[in-house]
Symmetry: C2
Subunit: 217 residues, 2 copies
């Protein structure tokens, strides 16, 4: 049974992991016969957004503790992730990726990546194991994979431009499809960068899971 | 297009709505061609559980605001729900139902139901419109439908006994199946009362959505 490490950036689209994308990833891993373990960094969220009003509130919340809401408590600190124990890596999106895994939400193409996230991403490259990044998560990839990495976030020209500025090669893609970079064993899909319903997001994520599991030796 | 009101009790299995059940409900409504609107009461959660440690922390959180994390902000106060505008009602489970929609988690068979939840549940009966309740949510049903209502929470004998004590008729049921009370136009499924993986939960919820939509005139 193939085993996949899933990185969560909190719980909630505006300050953490996109909840639907996270659940759909775990659903399709299960339906396609893979096992998984969720991980999240044990750090404070950049901030907390009241998801009803779309405004920051004063709460301080921890990424690992909030990610545990999606994972029913079954989440481990990212510091414990060993690439040798897994066949592939997957990152659902959500603003948590752009706020807690890196500072793209604040600094755009001048962003830096959280050290643990960077280390883990590179460990899967070193182990020649495949990875799948969804939604906004591909902004991390030029930093992790280096120049020329082929990725999609759908068709958002501003984010695509930032990815290209950082050295990536953005490819436009429909919501129900995936972009595959065979050289880097890397799959990306737009998910909620484009989706306006769960069925659209599901189809792209289903394909991503299928392709990454196929690439996992 | 049939339109379904979905009631969320927060965001997170131990103090709110079970996240997977909520997403799977919305996914299958979408895939089966129905529209939906999420609702939640604008009240403070009973308490907040650190989902990593399983322990209460001191946070005060609002059920409506936390439910908005699952619904990407698209959730309305339960006080605005008019049964006349919908074809059916659905309640995913999670401890939030037993803590925020009623006090079953504290008082068992001596429980009382939140007035808004009770009013909305009864409004769908009065309108002769069907409903689907998942996981622990069927503990509400003897109070809403009265004596003799036929429901399942799976095979938990303590919860089943409480349901029977309150006047319901509990029927044991497998995780991938549903119990239908035709007289009351009511469908229940165990979901995470029994599920140990997403695929099992999905199958019961898929069937519940299918049956409730079929019953919706």
């Amino acid at each position: 049974m193939k085993k996949v490490a899933v990185l969560l950036s909190g719980c909630g689209v505006f300050d953490g992991a996109e909840v639907n994308e996270a659940v759909l990833t775990l659903l399709h891993l299960t339906k396609q016969g893979a096992a998984y373990q969720c991980f999240a960094p044990d750090i404070e969220q950049m901030h907390t957004i009241n998801h009803l009003k779309g405004e920051e509130n004063g709460d301080k919340r921890n990424v690992l503790e909030e990610a545990a809401r999606i994972a029913r408590g079954e989440v481990k600190p990212l510091s414990e992730l060993e690439a040798s124990e897994f066949d592939a890596l997957m990152l659902p999106g959500g603003f948590g990726v752009a706020k807690n895994f890196c500072d793209f939400a604040v600094n755009g193409a001048e962003m830096t990546v959280n050290e643990q996230v960077l280390k883990v991403g590179k460990a899967f490259i070193d182990a020649e194991k495949p990875a799948g990044y969804m939604c906004i998560a591909p902004v991390l990839l030029p930093h992790i994979y280096g120049n020329g990495v082929k990725v999609t976030v759908g068709n958002d020209q501003e984010v695509a431009g930032s990815i290209n500025t950082m050295g990536g090669e953005h490819v436009d893609c429909g919501v129900r499809d995936i972009v595959v970079d065979d050289k880097h064993k890397l799959v990306t899909t737009p998910a909620y960068m484009l989706a306006d319903n769960l069925a659209d997001a599901e189809e792209g994520i289903r394909k991503l899971v299928e392709k990454v599991l196929y690439m996992a030796a």
